[in-house]
Symmetry: C2
Subunit: 117 residues, 2 copies
């Protein structure tokens, strides 16, 4: 197989048909973007966790989550993504965020100061 400079050479075995290999290269690029956006999102929610702990706000905020669900479902419909999946996706992320926020609040309650941030 030849490679074209500047074009991502997919990490796929040669027996995979070209059309499938090409689609997978696109998926791999999208996944790299998703991972970087998620990393940035957690950097941001980490700061929110510290703010919430400082202000003695609870780790979860059901009203905020309701607004997020409604907004993401509308965005998903517009983008052609299943809104039910978009809602499940947000819940998946928020569950992880709340776990981080609880860790931050607990670390502070136990003397704090040891946060990475």
């Amino acid at each position: 197989m030849t490679t074209t400079p500047g074009i991502h050479r997919s990490n796929e075995p040669d027996e995979v048909p070209a059309a499938l290999r090409s689609a997978r290269a696109t998926i791999d690029n999208i996944d790299a973007a998703l991972v970087h956006l998620l990393a940035e999102r957690f950097r941001c929610t980490q700061q929110v966790g510290v703010m919430k702990a400082e202000m003695h706000l609870p780790p979860s905020d059901p009203d905020r989550e309701d607004r997020q669900v409604a907004r993401l479902r509308a965005l998903a419909e517009e983008a052609g993504l299943d809104p039910v999946f978009a809602e499940k996706f947000l819940k998946f992320i928020v569950d992880e965020v709340i776990r981080h926020h609880e860790d931050i609040a607990e670390a502070r309650a136990n003397g704090g100061g040891t946060l990475q941030s």
Copy 2:
């Protein structure tokens, strides 16, 4: 509260502190980007599902998934995202994709032609 043209006015109640409101506006922007990337990813995996059904390939491909996990864990480490979370995230997405691929294969087996794509 005043609004600045071109600056996203967050969808947050006025009693939310400004720093928290600002962090949430960033999170909302990231979430919109995530939803659009996920929509594009599913458009792409939908095409993969059709290809797989045409080529009579199985909906899931454990070797491909192993390569994806290894790659995403490495990208996550580089981006400062928990690699365990990155792996869970990929599994969450791939489970949905496999469900779609099974639906496509089943629709084809039942006479096909009714696929949106």
